[in-house]
Symmetry: C2
């Protein structure tokens, strides 16, 4: 593919339901009830049940691996956790939209991809970038 | 807690089995067969079935959240994926050892935690650090 600064990645939209969070809890071993119990979540001042930050980060990363084709092409990945993703108690859950574009071409055939990750129009990761090896 | 540069986090040792990878595949939606099928993994040149990089990253992050107590205290997190974690086909699976220490005290009561993440003695993340808010 021809990649230059400004090249945009295909936008990816994910849906996160509470069932996904329960599955993620089981897979990750992080059973913090703020990720599955509304009562506990609101008691600690959250607007509701929120997604695991690492789950949000993983989904955002999938927009990059979907673009590179090869997950192993992602050599570096970082985020700053901004705002939690609140997951309503219904079948639709929360929407997570991941946009990305190439922010810089680096040495050794690598590029920096800058991601914009939003849920319901609000930015949830305030810095999210990956370094990928271009094919 | 009293935190200074050099303060060490309690070491955490995780075990990753192939069953964990299947659960992570289901939770993350990343069903790439290199994470559950030995034949496919070796056909593409890997030494065997390997853990999802984001799963390794998530486990390493748990050593930080276990230390801070509050997962929301982690404001930033980055890794460089170095070497894959190879997961044998047995009940023990792979071992993942996470060590960390405070590398710098930052402004606004934050600290940078530098992690050393190894499996079977080999470093698997070549750069792994988190920025945390201290209590």
């Amino acid at each position: 593919m021809s990649v230059e600064v400004g090249t945009e990645l295909p936008e990816q939209v994910f849906r996160i339901t509470r069932a996904d969070l329960v599955r993620y809890a089981g897979a990750s071993g992080d059973f913090n009830p703020i990720h599955w119990n509304e009562r506990v979540a609101t008691a600690v001042g959250l607007p509701g049940v929120i997604a695991h930050g690492m789950f949000t980060m993983a989904l955002a990363g999938r927009a990059v691996t979907a673009w590179t084709g090869d997950p192993a092409a992602v050599v570096e990945y970082q985020v700053r956790f901004g705002r939690p993703v609140v997951v309503p108690d219904d079948d639709e859950g929360a929407e997570l939209t991941v946009r990305g574009k190439v922010g810089a071409l680096l040495d050794d055939g690598r590029a920096r991809v800058d991601l914009t990750v939003t849920s319901e129009g609000e930015k949830v990761l305030s810095l999210a970038r990956a370094v990928v090896r271009l094919p």
